[in-house]
Amino acid sequence: MKSFFRMSYPYLLWMAIFIVAPMVMILLYAFTRSGNSMLTFQFTLEHFANFFTDPTFMRVLWTSLRIAFLTTVFCILIGYPAALFIANLPERRQTMMVLLLTLPMWINMLLKTYAWRGILMNFDLESEIKVFIGMVYDFLPYMIIQIHTSIAKMDRELLTAAQDLGANRWKSFTKVTLPLSVPGIISGITLVFLPAVSSFVIPKLLGGGDYVLIGNLIEIYFLTAGDWNFGSAISLIMAVIIIVSMWATKKLDRSAQED
């Protein structure tokens, strides 16, 4: 046991350098005033005050949460029937379908988004709709694969049992299949909502200049404004939102399993 623990040292070192250290730097930047050297910190909460008192930033935050939520909901609505359909195919065709689904993921996301930009340019749509289409397209495979995995490993005999006990197909779906696929839906939500809320390439390429999400805001403050303190503060707010939503989905998962 002890020797196993020792094997994790390289990993711990890796985490310390590439995850913990950057997080500490973001924390430091977020709570200090700009223009000071690394040796004389002036701690402040003004970046957070500025963020939460500015209606523009609040609107950007709200838009980001809204579009991430809508993307997740649509991914479930489209992805669930698709996953169910695939899970009911013969084994060999299933493997084929999953392969086809993952095929677009082999292509760089930037290329796919540029392609969508070319397609959507011909339509007079609201920026938000364009971004929404791009996001649902990009994140849908993650949702389908997660749900498919949880349905596929379900014991088929349960459905036969439900039907023997007099449940019709709808009833056996709502009482057996759906509850057993909840863990899949929840990990799908994690894989879709989290990247969607922080995505910045898709809104940048599909939404045009007047569509700003929180990811774009961070980019603007780091690159254009060169204000790493405020940029770090926004990143930190973002991180807190992500941690809270992960905790919430975990909680959901647990209560679903207890049922």
């Binding site: 950007v60 700003v212 690159l223």
Partner: protein, 359 residues
């Protein structure tokens, strides 16, 4: 006897020298390395020039691209090492101030006398100690002459962006610096103001602009869109305008009467360059007539080589009669950008976000 020996030695030396010249030069011996890392704007060169340079000097050029001065600066801050950068004027000012550049070797960069008047004696580097101008441009308005009368356009200048008659037919370039520049110029202030009242007035002007013409905020996609005549007017860089005008003869170019920004992109050598010797050779090479001609002809931005500039815009030149190619020089109200003080950069950004989000 001694004399004869000396003569023989001298002849030997000359012969060796001649043999050395005839032989292919060894770049590693001469420059320390045969690799040159160049970091330039996207779509800003004729690739053939790079290929020619590689052949002529027996070296390899790693050519990478950036899309904004700030992106380049952040990359440089993160410790990346390049031999030649091509930032704009205000960014060079910042790099010089922060000691991030090394002086050009004037024994190697001997072509600086080809520079046209418009890019000589620049405020950020008056004696070209650190920088050699690459291409230059003005910011102006491309417009559809079948929709907007040229006389009316010249009469309005930047205030055309407040004209509700053009609502829904306007592209605004998504750059906070250029956005604020047109507002400040329209209000009669300097584009380099640090006065917060003037910046606030410009902010109000831009919000009015957003309401009056509901522009689409775009970046490089504006080039193809205007070449296709999709909207009536757009804020563009003159080099892009030169391309648009050559693609679509209905398009006109206006350098607004209120004065505008003249921008110079210049080649510099960062302090941490690993091959500064070859970098100097490269910079001098680009300034040469043939190479500057190929680059300017390909991208449409104005050459900094005076003779190239004249030849391309004169009769028989590629840009003959193209209103956008030759930048307006010597107009009193035109300004170069200074670096914005750090304390104002966040203000610029947050105001520009508010303009774009219609608040």
């Amino acid at each position: 006897m001694k004399k004869v020996l000396t003569a023989v030695l001298v002849i030997c030396l000359i012969a060796m020298g001649a043999a050395g010249l005839a032989e292919k030069k060894d770049p590693v011996a001469e420059y320390g390395s045969d690799v040159l890392n160049v970091y330039n704007w996207g779509e800003y060169i004729d690739k053939q020039v790079i290929t020619n340079f590689e052949k002529e000097y027996g070296v390899r050029v790693n050519y990478s691209l950036f899309s904004s001065n700030e992106e380049m600066y952040t990359k440089l801050l993160s410790g990346a090492s390049y031999d030649v950068l091509v930032p704009s004027d205000y960014m060079i000012e910042r790099l010089i101030r922060e000691d991030k550049l090394q002086p050009l070797d004037k024994d190697v960069v001997t072509n600086l006398d080809v520079l046209t008047a418009g890019v000589q004696n620049m405020g950020y580097d008056p004696d070209n100690t650190y920088s050699a101008p690459y291409l230059w441009q003005t910011v102006g308005i491309v417009y559809d002459t079948t929709k907007i009368d040229p006389e009316a356009m010249e009469e309005q200048g930047f205030s055309a962006f407040l004209n509700p008659e053009y609502k829904g037919h306007v592209y605004m370039y998504d750059s906070e610096r250029d956005g604020f520049m047109i507002a400040l110029k329209a209000l009669g202030y300097s584009a380099n103001t640090t006065d917060e009242d003037e910046l606030n007035a410009a902010f109000d002007w831009l919000r009015e602009m957003d309401k009056a013409v509901s522009p689409s905020y775009v970046t490089d996609e504006v080039i193809d869109a205007m070449a296709n005549g999709e909207k009536w007017m757009a804020l563009v860089y003159s080099g892009d305008a030169a391309y648009i005008l050559s693609e679509n003869e209905d398009m006109g170019y206006c350098t607004p009467k209120e004065g505008t920004n003249i921008a110079v992109d210049a080649m510099v050598i960062p302090a941490n360059a690993s091959n500064p010797k070859l970098a100097n050779v490269f910079i001098n090479y680009i300034l040469e007539y043939d190479n500057s001609l190929m680059i300017s002809e390909e991208v449409g931005y104005a050459s900094t080589n005076d003779q190239v500039l004249n030849d391309l815009s004169a009769e028989g030149g590629t840009y003959e009669g193209n209103a956008a190619y030759l930048p307006r020089a010597g107009y009193e109200l035109d300004e170069y950008y200074n670096d914005i003080p750090e304390s104002l950069r966040s203000l610029y950004s947050s105001m520009w976000i508010k303009v774009k989000l219609h608040e």
